[in-house]
């Protein structure tokens, strides 16, 4: 058995306590280890993604206990793609945190950062629903610490809301898990997939409730309207680099929906037929619209970016809620784009703090380093709003194309196109107030010129933008890869048989003979 698949969880889990215990007073040493850890993670995740790219499903049985009894970690195309995306985003966020000295403004930034990565990696890799809950809690408890990093009353208050909302979500998750266990007697995803198919149409009440509860939990994580209220305040008040890392956290919800609702409660499962397909697409369209209208109405740059995240999650959910191979591959392409674009925008909104009293979209003297910041903002805004030539446009085109198969195709097209227009107006307004109108405002008397952000900060943002451009240039290969991924999701036999038929302790003897 190969042990590399557990490394993305174990490596940060070892590094984080090391950083707390051995390097707590030395920011320099913390930075070195944290950075080395993330670079190592990228290498490991790239290796795993390469290994999974031919369709192999890698299984790791913890303690060598066989699947329905023991906890398993599973690496298929989707999981390894997501962990690679996480590791790459984490590298640039970490570079930015170091370059902007955010990590020195409070304590334990790097340790919490590593714990957060551990939780995210685990959530993407696990093959067990209860373990998914545990990793959700790991990533959440680290995110609570990161969210209130560097303190401040308003940030603490937003932090309280964020923690309470997520605690409610966790309670709901446990209710859903209890109901699923009571109905099926297992929480292993592959085992569940087999057992759900056996449930007859006469005894479906419990499992239908459980599946909707579970969907609600993931919708909270994915900030789907009307469960999005936690997002704007907490993302806007969180430190810039932390908010950029949080860009992947909403995607954990999207990932969980894709995984659970293709593998376990798949589109052709009779038990949950027509249960959520009726309202998931309308809810996604409403969150797309609310995100983009909120973007236009936002009075502060950080809130504007937070609403753009809601909008782009709405776009992802529009694609997911159609549950066809085409739409899931469009969703996966858009998830990569949206993570990179949201990360870049949160970092840029932090760059825009240099030389400004606050991030209100009002006329203030030009910010320090304005030329470069404004250029980066332009590119990131084009990507996020989905204008050509960047990947947002390609992703939106794929989603529009996939929408032909749904009965709501007119609504989908109308809302996607209108909300794009609204977001273009919103970004253009924000950019012109921040960067152009500023030229007409003189500096107040005897102010000391604020230093421009450090070159490393620009390198980090530039790196994310470069990745966005690469995601556009290599859209063909990228789309082919995500299309293969989504085909594998709709033919989960390889996944299920790998998980359940690999021998281990407690396997039935007949399986060991194979």
């Amino acid at each position: 058995m190969m042990h590399w698949i557990i490394a993305p969880v174990v490596l940060p889990a070892i590094l984080a306590p090391f950083i707390v215990l051995a390097a707590r007073y030395h920011v320099g040493i913390q930075r070195v280890f944290s950075l080395a850890g993330v670079v190592g993670l990228i290498a490991i995740c790239a290796g795993l993604a390469w290994q999974a790219s031919d369709g192999t499903v890698t299984l790791y049985q913890l303690g060598d206990w066989a699947a329905p009894f023991g906890i398993v970690v599973v690496g298929d195309r989707l999981s390894t793609l997501m962990i690679l995306l996480t590791a790459v985003l984490a590298l640039f966020v970490l570079l930015y945190a170091i370059g902007s000295h955010w990590d020195a403004r409070g304590r334990h930034f790097h340790a919490l950062f590593q714990f957060q990565l551990m939780g995210i990696m685990g959530a993407f890799l696990t093959g067990d629903l209860f373990n998914l809950f545990v990793f959700f809690e790991v990533l959440l408890i680290a995110s609570y610490g990161l969210m209130i990093h560097a303190g401040g009353n308003r940030r603490l208050r937003a932090g309280v809301q964020y923690v309470l909302f997520n605690l409610l979500g966790s309670t709901l998750f446990l209710f859903a898990l209890g109901a699923i266990y009571a109905e099926t007697g297992t929480l292993n995803m592959a085992d569940l997939a087999q057992r759900i198919a056996l449930i007859g149409p006469e005894a479906t009440a419990g499992i239908r409730i459980a599946s909707v509860l579970l969907l609600m939990v993931f919708a909270i994580k994915a900030a789907l309207v009307p469960l999005h209220f936690w997002l704007p305040s907490s993302y806007a008040e969180a430190p810039g680099p932390v908010a950029a890392l949080f860009a992947i956290m909403t995607k954990v919800g999207a990932y969980a929906i894709i995984r659970v609702y293709t593998l376990i409660f798949g589109p052709d499962v009779a038990v949950t037929d027509g249960l959520y397909s009726n309202w998931l697409l309308p809810a996604a369209l409403v969150s797309l619209a609310i995100g983009m209208i909120g973007l236009l109405g936002a009075r502060k740059l950080d809130r504007l970016v937070a609403f753009s995240v809601i909008g782009s999650m709405g776009m992802v959910m529009v694609a997911i809620s159609m549950f066809t191979p085409d739409s899931i591959s469009a969703a996966l392409y858009y998830i990569i784009h949206s993570t990179l674009a949201a990360g870049a925008l949160f970092l840029i909104s932090d760059l825009a703090r240099a030389g400004r009293a606050n991030l209100e979209l009002t006329e203030q003297p030009p910010l320090a380093g304005a030329p470069l910041t404004s250029a980066l903002f332009l590119v990131a805004a084009i990507a996020m709003a989905g204008l050509p030539p960047l990947s947002g446009f390609v992703g939106k085109l794929l989603i529009l194309d996939a929408a032909f198969e749904t009965p709501l195709v007119t609504w989908t097209w109308a809302i996607i196109l209108t909300s794009s227009l609204i977001s273009v107006v919103g970004f253009a307004r924000a950019g012109s107030v921040l960067f152009w109108k500023a030229k007409s405002v003189p500096y107040p008397e005897n102010t000391i010129a604020e230093p421009a952000p450090s070159p490393l900060s620009y390198v980090a943002v530039g790196g994310l933008i470069t990745l966005l451009i690469l995601h556009t240039v290599f859209a063909g290969p990228a789309y082919r890869y995500v299309a293969q991924t989504s085909d594998a999701l709709f033919a989960p036999e390889a996944y299920i048989s790998t998980v359940l038929s690999t021998p281990g302790k407690l396997s039935k003897p007949k399986k060991e003979e194979k």
Partner: protein
């Protein structure tokens, strides 16, 4: 017994939800605790209620499902830790702003209270 446990879970959930919808941190945190108690009992009951049977397979014909007990233990530990975290953050927010409401501050306060770094 099923009715007793089910109605206890229902009552705790209802009381917890009512408290969570209040505006101040103390009732909200109490409500969260009630909800986690409810969910712990619910998880426990998800393995069917069996009285006086060991949670291991023995020669006896009846046994209790051991898995929900492990799930409940994990859930208790996690909810305990989370409650401690939210109490600390809420205390910090209360001591810093002298205000224990959980909603967003009003708009005017929003502007005057602007501080960064």
């Amino acid at each position: 017994m099923e009715f007793l446990v089910a109605s206890a879970i229902g009552t705790m959930t209802a009381a917890g939800l009512y408290l969570v919808l209040r505006l101040r941190t103390f009732p909200v945190i109490l409500g969260m605790s009630l909800l986690t108690y409810a969910v712990n009992v619910f998880l426990f009951a998800s393995g069917r209620l069996t009285v006086g049977a060991p949670p291991i397979l023995t020669d006896a014909t009846t046994y209790t499902d051991p898995l929900p007990q492990a799930l409940v233990l994990t859930a208790i530990v996690i909810s305990f830790g989370m409650t401690a975290v939210v109490v600390m953050i809420a205390l910090g927010a209360f001591l810093g702003a002298d205000d224990d409401h959980v909603n967003d501050p009003a708009r005017d306060e929003d502007e005057s209270g602007e501080e960064q770094t």
